[in-house]
Homo-oligomer: 338 residues x 2
DNA sequence: CCGCGACACTGAATCGTTTCAAAGCCATGT
DNA sequence: ACATGGCTTTGAAACGATTCAGTGTCGCGG
């Protein structure tokens, strides 16, 4: 019952603890017969390495801390999966934390990760606060911003050009003949929201008779989308927009639910709708949803890549800013009017 | 740069390391003035506890290991969230692993959790193998089966009555006039699948002119559902079933996509469709999906509860088997024929 | 004035692994 | 016969927090 240690294994195999450790970590340095004997002892005793002791000695854990804005959002689980896959190659584990767009929860996770002496941190930050992240750097914990562009040369970052994405979305709405556009998204503290809105504004600015209104939401969730959709549905038909650009697909699905409910407003005939992220469920929506696709798994993959490289070259690492380009995916929800 | 330890804090505060530790863990035993001095030193040095050292001393970590069948399935993320919330109350962290219905990946996570000396394990197992789980028990790691019923008194378990759920689903299809029913689900190694199928069989058995066919899938995913749906769509109209019961909502959404594509088959007029889990996206589907609701967050919550109680009472803990009842949610996809 | 308990604090031992300087062993070449 | 170098193995030190038996101090009652 009492857990067995290398000492027990060494005793049983008739070698020293150093040799047991070598068998485990540098088998090339140990003679075949000894290796066999040690393995037999490990087997017999059911020995399992104590990770805490390894970490203590090593000074840092072989985990990567990751904080995302919303684990219920398939976009982020896809990013996390990409990160995990790449991390597994390096024998690293990903600890996934969910900030729920809440700075306090974000901080709680960062505290935890500091105590754990994680190998590095991947974060999709809630606000602009870099104070907290600087502290990680000073501790020597490499930190990569995920899904957030930055010029800050103290961090690496992996993001998608959200301004371009916003532009793509609204350009497409304009190209299919819509002019009165509403942007649904929020809170403003999220860079994803403001960037996509900025791109939308640019596109609208290019067309003289187009207008852009904003309905701000408290979060990027289906529920918030439904509330925004209800506000639109309850407008006089003449006051309604002819297109909605939602800051992500969850919002878009909420908007869609509200508009379709009771057959009140037809999508895309009366109002066209486009989302962002192209999550798997977008194509299975009541009206299949047009969206802006981001290479989600690749984002996670690349982020771990940068992290690992930074961790390997302690000082003088040149931080990189990787920016992917988004892609328009057209489905029924923005079909051209008849 | 070199991380500061309790020793440094002690030195700076002019006390012993033992006192620093007491300030951190049993402030009641330390005089107010000393507490203040120690806190000042901690602040000044930016001291952060080293979790690895704590764990080494404590003998186990304050993390709970959790393995689910599919992180992309909102049902499991909901369960995980419930678990995390309850765990946070106990100052425990949840490490979430994804087996992808693959026994090797499941084992890899269990190995990891053993090395980490986790506080306990929550698992939604891939197969019937209890061998691996027994090993955890022998190590003194309490283990709770999640979303899996069992009579095994060596484990606690938290589950939903899947046989009752399967019965509910098919009883509803029969009640709305359907007779030729197809069950879509697999692999058979998942108890969730076989239990739901068993319930379905019972319901069909109660109606003399009803039939039940099975299309087995390789996994419970949207993609697999789409493949099954295509097989149904490609049947001669006279050979088609008049209702489909999918083993979970992801499958159901895939089936729905395949049937609706090209307007080939109308749901629910030609084929009624019911899923399982009632994930958030089910109500936003092309045709809002009827489903069987499970109290997902409550499952996670309860599981952590049992785990914590077992961990607190090392021996002689009486394992409990909690079984929740599922609930039918009727939407458009099973509307009665006109 | 002594003894006793309460309280605050100390510091060495401990957890289990890894590392590394040093030692042991053996064969080869001179 | 001995030095040399290449393997293999050894064992003590180190990582950093916690614990606990023990030291010291103070105040109060007898």
């Amino acid at each position: 019952m009492a857990s067995t240690s290398v000492r027990d294994v060494a005793l049983r195999a008739g070698v020293s603890v150093g040799t047991v450790s070598n068998v485990l970590n540098r088998p090339g340095k140990v003679s075949p017969s000894t290796i066999e004997r040690v393995h037999a002892a490990i087997e017999a005793l059911g020995f399992v390495r104590n990770d805490a002791a390894r970490q203590l000695r090593a000074g840092r854990s072989h985990s990567i801390g990751m904080v995302v804005l919303d684990v219920s959002n398939p976009f982020f689980t896809d990013v996390a999966r990409g990160a995990e896959d790449r991390a597994a190659d390096e024998h690293l584990t990903v600890l996934l934390g969910n900030s729920d767009e809440n700075a306090d929860r974000e901080n709680a996770y960062l505290d935890l990760f500091e105590e754990q002496r994680v190998h590095g941190v991947l974060i999709s930050p809630v606000g602009d606060e870099t104070v907290r992240l600087e502290r990680l750097l000073r501790r020597g914990i490499p930190t990569v911003l995920v899904d957030r562009q930055t010029d800050d040369d103290r961090f690496s970052s992996v993001a998608v050009d959200d301004v371009a994405g916003g532009y793509l979305a609204v350009r497409h709405l304009l190209d299919t003949g819509r002019r009165r556009i509403v942007f649904v998204g929020g809170p403003e503290s999220l860079a994803q929201v403001t960037d996509r809105l900025a791109g939308a504004r640019t596109a609208v600015g290019e067309t003289s008779d187009a207008t852009l209104d904003v309905i701000e939401t408290d979060a990027l969730t289906v529920l918030q989308g439904r509330m925004a959709g209800e506000r639109i549905r309850d407008l006089e038909p003449s006051d309604r927009p002819d297109a909605v650009f939602a800051a992500n697909d969850l919002l878009a699905m909420g908007v869609l639910q509200a508009l379709s409910m009771l057959g009140a407003v037809h999508v895309p005939e009366e109002i066209a709708l486009i989302g962002y992220d192209d999550i798997d469920f977008a194509s299975a929506a009541i009206v299949p949803l047009s969206s802006i696709r981001q290479p989600s798994a690749l984002i996670g993959h690349t982020a771990v890549d940068l992290l690992v490289r930074e961790a390997a070259s302690p000082d003088g690492f040149v931080h990189e800013h990787v920016v992917f380009q988004p892609e328009l995916v057209v489905r029924a929800s923005t079909a051209r009017r008849p």
